[in-house]
Point group: C2
Chain length 424, copies 2
Amino acid sequence: VANAVQIIETKRDGRELSGSEIDWFVDAATTGAIPTYQVTAMLMAVFLRGFTPAELARWTAAMLHSGEVLDFSDLDGGVVDKHSTGGVGDKVSIPLAPLVAACGINVPMMSGRGLGHTGGTLDKMESVPGFSPQLDPSRFRSMVERHGLVLAGQSETLVPADRLFYSLRDASGTVPSIPLIASSIMSKKLAEGLDALVLDVKVGLGAFMKDIESARELATTMVGIGAAHGVGVTAFLTSMDQPLGREVGNANEMRESVDVLLGRGPEDLTELVFELAAEMLVVGGVATGHADALATLHRAVDSGDALRDPAALTDWSLLPQARSTKTISASSGGWVARCDAMRIGTAAMRLGAGREVAEDEIDHGVGISVLAKVGDEVRPGDPLAEIAFNDDARLAAAEELLADAWTITSEAVTPAPLILETIR
Amino acid sequence: VANAVQIIETKRDGRELSGSEIDWFVDAATTGAIPTYQVTAMLMAVFLRGFTPAELARWTAAMLHSGEVLDFSDLDGGVVDKHSTGGVGDKVSIPLAPLVAACGINVPMMSGRGLGHTGGTLDKMESVPGFSPQLDPSRFRSMVERHGLVLAGQSETLVPADRLFYSLRDASGTVPSIPLIASSIMSKKLAEGLDALVLDVKVGLGAFMKDIESARELATTMVGIGAAHGVGVTAFLTSMDQPLGREVGNANEMRESVDVLLGRGPEDLTELVFELAAEMLVVGGVATGHADALATLHRAVDSGDALRDPAALTDWSLLPQARSTKTISASSGGWVARCDAMRIGTAAMRLGAGREVAEDEIDHGVGISVLAKVGDEVRPGDPLAEIAFNDDARLAAAEELLADAWTITSEAVTPAPLILETIR
């Protein structure tokens, strides 16, 4: 007979849990058969002792099977999703999902909300009047069947174990654990019934993972979980030292996303969207290789297939807009050596574009347009950023952070590559 | 502002907590200002990361001050208690407290109940009809004033933090942690308002600490906590490979305890009672040294001062008695090399003398008389033990354990010393 204390003790002492012990514990936690104080003791033991690959695969499987698991195997075309570990200005999902769907891939994408210095895809989508992120399972399915894509909030019926663990980790000091992060992400993505998954693991100043080694470990861990579940996972490690694209906020990130689909997005954002999308086409079986995939994607943009109803998405007057703007200027000339994603993301949060705590309300109209990025040459007085704001006190808080967000040097700077590594 | 998550993270990462962080956490846990799932995450982090001596002293102080703290400084004579980490047949407190009190020491002793293979002083005392272990603080105090001793249950008003931590540790796999054990014991003992404390740290087959190193670490840790609180602590490491004395059970341990006070107790039990008591007299300031203390103690026994009302305690017909007895005999002759305290203690528990789970009822009349101990010579057919039982199924379970509790060798065996080390 499984016993919660004995299972906790096994992990506490660094010994390997059996598959049935893991299944029992995750199920008992999810159903409330064991109290939350036993769950957090276990989470801390996992934090400090880790999981073997076999334990982690089973733990993720137990989480995945704690609720409904979607099945799109009857659909034509591959079922592929993309997930990012989160960064500043990371609106990739919004242009990527329709672009990939236009090329014949089914994208059942469930996204989250932002907290702290990073934004959330759902918050950005909610800039669009009438967008509703909560879909019941049958509506979620019919959207995938009809449009080849859906971009919605996490369903209540999927992976209830993750909702419990996520809230308890937040309250028990067990958030930054690679096995707990990897199982949280992968259980939710695997519950979408995917054939393959493309991961964007951010690394740098504005990312959860500050160094390449920990980003690589997280990526490798998630690729391993995918393999154990028979789902091909490709992980891109991408730089998050500076914001992605030029827009940080909600409505302004929606506009920039549409720009990508119109072929006029900023270079770095466009590059990342196309590289991630190309991989999805290859693993989803609609392109023979990288070059073929890129050609297909460019055709989808050039033909307008990626943006079926451009009028509905280019009437910016429908989007919320901030009351005023203020420009931040360079005090000296030279080349931008640092454009700090953490400071800019936190400044956007202080403006009201993000949440300090989960209960905060979002102001969708405010944001920061980043006008000078790493490698750009600036003269004294040139604009570094434009702040769109609604509240003077919030503006002041944002300005204080932005005052030290750029470093300008006297020598030319070559920006580092955006995509650092690919792990399959 | 203190924050529970930040405090947990600090300990999780092996960094030292400040005094005010410790005070805040213990207070918030005790008052219920933070949920139990944060408390167990902390307990697991402490289990795996440990405490520095400064942290442990402060943690213990915070526990100690979570409730009422007794003060006997106005009484004549030293205030000294003894605590044992628990063993099989360990009834030392019962003869020791009146013996020491008869010599002028105040003994405000709060004891616990037994669980598993070890018995509890309160359970043994409850063999006596009319004994009630729950005293309110004023009655507890007046007993010490009048008799120089009280032997009662843990007061509800003392160290509420320990009651919470103890129950959560039991349920969260965080019991066998030296800092958590040491702070639990010491907070309760320091709350008794002691001048000095004598500890009996058991080590061996029937003890919580199986090896001398961990027993020494626990003892040293508790001596250090005492020093940080200005309370002199002497820790004896004593052998618990075989039961202490000859009686294991409740009513039968009461009888053996009175035998010690009548000067006719078994040798090992008498030795330990006198050695612990002598130390209490020395640290309590009523004896100039060990020899003087022993002489005082022997006078107290010989004069009858240690047993003021012998008639009330030697009418054994008032104690519960088991229905039947059964003798376990040696199958071969030789010398006893092992008399396994764990097996005998567990057998007594199965008979009904102890508790498998905290809710179990005690049968005070059942028990085991150990008739052959390490070093004794036995012939084939000689009795090894006599089982007093009330239930045939329980007898069978006990017999199964006892069948393998003795090892008899063909060469003479010299028993190891009972007192292994003294740490001050």
